[in-house]
């Protein structure tokens, strides 16, 4: 019995916390943590593996809460998701994406970018 308990304890000790990651975001446009001089017109997310656009979703949260009027999510390439953005006022934006990888696993994550007021014309 103690041997079994020891064996169980060994395997429990191996089960340390980890992040779930089958497909990973490899590139984002606007880039994570970037500060833009002009509001972006589209959001483009590229992953290291193929993803399923139909079972994926993107939320954008801005200074006034959830941004409405996002375009439909499309997949111009099998590893890329893209959607059109409505005019965005200056402020900080949080992107939340939930994506189904081609291997059937779901990944969820966030990143942020900022839009600043356009510099005054000289």
């Amino acid at each position: 019995m103690p041997k079994i308990a020891l064996l169980l304890a060994f395997f429990c000790s191996l089960a340390t916390p980890e992040c779930f990651a089958h497909a990973r975001l490899s590139r984002a446009e606007p880039a994570a943590r970037s500060t833009l001089n002009a509001a972006p017109t589209r959001l483009r997310l590229s992953f290291n593996e193929a993803v399923e656009a139909k079972y994926s979703s993107v939320e954008l949260r801005g200074p006034s809460g959830l941004v409405s009027g996002l375009g439909p999510l499309s997949a111009p390439e099998e590893r890329t998701l893209e959607l059109a953005l409505p005019p965005l006022p200056a402020g900080r934006y949080d992107v939340h994406y939930r994506v189904l990888s081609a291997d059937g696993h779901v990944i969820e994550a966030d990143y942020r970018f900022s839009v600043q007021d356009a510099p005054a014309a000289q």
Binding site: T16, E52, Y55, A102, V106
Partner: protein
């Protein structure tokens, strides 16, 4: 709940999927009494139910709605619209067709072609699992390795099951059957083990620490433990029990043999459970290890350049070889014990030579890419919080350094940085180094800021290495391995991209300028006739002069 059901479905599906083609192939090779007729139908039905349950759980996980677990329309949409769903659908069809043919073959007069066709279809259903398995992320050849792993495991398990399920009236033939099976099982198990270890290597590399710091690694170790149990029983059966039984065949009772075979089969079923767990967990090489459980880690890069390491490794290796030699002599208990002790001591000495201290964050991966923005942010944080002790260049010569309990290390020199990972730096920023007087920055710098500082230090270190760069790149000369920080760009006409878009595809000349001050220089560059000598790089193995055009 959904994950638990998914795990159950994977286990049941794997068990039935492995057994069915195995039974069919063994039926082609020789008489299998009624086992195929009795179990084939049950395995087909159970396997089908398992795949349907897998489809339901994958659908619910994909949509994020638990209610879709019971919605047939949602399953069908998932099977139609997604890569993983389509793969499951094809597996289901192949299983039903293969199982049906095998049932037909078992009930009709013996027909090898029908058996073979049914077995191949069932095998196709089983191997279809590789399309949505972890190995699929590694690329084409790995799919073949995974398929080989499943196919050989199926043949081995099918044969083992036939022996365990031998009818009472045929048990007197068990030794001959086991002898025949054993001849094939050995290469089959060898292939299964070799392909499994190859897959494990592919899914772990280059982060082998994932073996002892992930759920996936725990499942793999459990699976290897069970494999060792199975191999132990198989060896005992082949080289001990079977010869003994054959020697005393007239008065032999096959029951102990059958008991051991059934124990081996039970271990094999447990092994399938571990395999299902592996399928559900992200591979050890693909995860971020956010909590390394040991105070040390093993590294070749960080230990081999240090004086004494090679000597210690040689001593440990010699002890290990002596131990193995003593064990191989089989000269009694005392020699075996001595050999074991020498082997263990040698292994411990070698591991000690390769060990360096580690922190819980040692294997944490940067969540911020090595780009210009992060380095600029890091430079600002470094100037505000670090420069007073570490100095402007990270040499440990800041104005406050002399008053610290321990002088800060030189962050620029390679021997120091090779012993530590980016995660170690993250841990020091998070928790501080009390014995050297470095405070914790957990409250001052958030996670992004900590990685910014580390990226800045990385850039400093790379810049220091660049001092050996020469104007000409010549083959055979020592080169600094420089990776330019990434950055995004956007032109006035709306084109956008990243520096890394060109990485590995063509040479890029970076020109930093400021208008209007640089206008004259840019104009001069555009007029110049550019000739660069390539040194036989990946894109130009021959090495030749290339004429470039510079456009402004």
């Amino acid at each position: 709940m959904i994950e638990l059901l998914g795990g159950l479905a994977r286990w049941l599906g794997l068990g039935c999927g492995l057994l069915l083609p195995g039974l069919g192939v063994w039926a082609v090779l020789g008489p299998t009494e009624t086992s195929l007729r009795r179990c084939g139908g049950l395995l087909t039905v159970a396997g089908t139910l398992a795949l349907v349950l897998l489809l339901a759980t994958q659908t619910a996980a994909a949509t994020g709605r638990s209610a879709d677990l019971w919605q047939v329309a949602a399953w069908l949409a998932y099977a139609e619209d997604t890569h993983a769903g389509r793969a499951l659908g094809w597996r289901l069809l192949a299983l039903l067709a293969g199982g049906g043919l095998l049932q037909l073959a078992a009930r009709l007069p013996p027909g090898r072609n029908l058996l073979l066709a049914g077995s191949l279809l069932a095998l196709l259903s089983l191997c279809g699992a590789v399309l949505s398995g972890h190995a699929a992320s590694l690329g084409g050849p790995w799919l073949a390795v995974h398929a080989l792993h499943l196919a050989t495991a199926s043949l081995w398990l099918g044969g083992l099951f036939l022996l365990c399920a031998l009818p009472v009236e045929a048990r007197h033939t068990l030794p001959e059957r086991l002898q025949r099976f054993s001849g094939l099982a050995l290469p089959l198990m060898g292939l299964t083990l070799a392909s499994g270890l190859t897959l494990a290597y592919g899914l772990l590399a280059p982060q082998f620490a994932g073996l002892v710091a992930s759920v996936w690694g725990a499942w793999l170790l459990l699976k290897l433990l069970l494999v060792a149990g199975v191999l132990g029983i198989a060896a005992r059966l082949r080289w001990s029990a079977l010869p003994r039984l054959r020697r005393a065949q007239d008065r032999a009772d096959a029951t102990p043999l059958l008991r051991q075979l059934r124990l081996e089969f039970a271990l094999a079923l447990a092994l399938l459970g571990a395999a299902a767990g592996l399928g559900l967990s992200p591979p050890g090489g693909h995860i971020e290890i956010s909590q390394w459980p040991w105070p040390f880690r093993f590294t070749l890069d960080g230990t081999l350049p240090e004086p004494g390491t090679l000597g210690t490794l040689t001593t440990g290796g010699a002890l290990l070889i002596l131990g193995i030699a003593a064990l191989a002599r089989r000269g009694g208990l005392a020699l075996t014990r001595t050999g074991g002790a020498l082997g263990a001591l040698g292994t411990a000495v070698m591991l000690y030579a390769l060990a360096v201290p580690a922190s819980p964050d040692t294997y944490r991966r940067p969540s911020i890419t090595f780009d210009a923005l992060s380095i600029a942010n890091g430079a600002a944080h470094y100037a505000a919080h670090c420069v007073a002790c570490h100095g402007a260049q990270g040499r440990g010569d800041g104005p406050l350094a002399a008053g610290l309990p321990r002088r800060p290390v030189d962050l620029l020199t390679e021997p120091h940085t090779a012993r530590h990972t980016a995660g170690d730096f993250y841990h020091w920023l998070l928790a501080g180094i009390p014995e050297s007087g470095m405070p914790a920055f957990a409250q001052t710098l958030d996670e992004d800021a900590r990685w910014d500082v580390i990226n800045f230090l990385h850039a400093l270190n790379r810049g220091y290495e660049a001092r050996i760069l020469q104007p000409r790149v010549m083959p055979g000369q020592p080169q600094a391995r420089l990776v330019a920080p990434d950055f995004s760009w956007r032109t006035r006409d709306g084109q956008a991209g990243w520096l890394t878009d060109w990485r590995g595809s063509r040479s890029v000349l970076l020109v930093f300028y400021r208008l209007p001050a640089s206008a004259a220089r840019l104009a001069a560059l555009s007029r110049a006739d550019w000739v660069a000598s390539t040194a036989g790089g990946a894109g130009d193995p021959a090495g030749r002069a290339v004429r470039h055009q510079f456009a402004v």
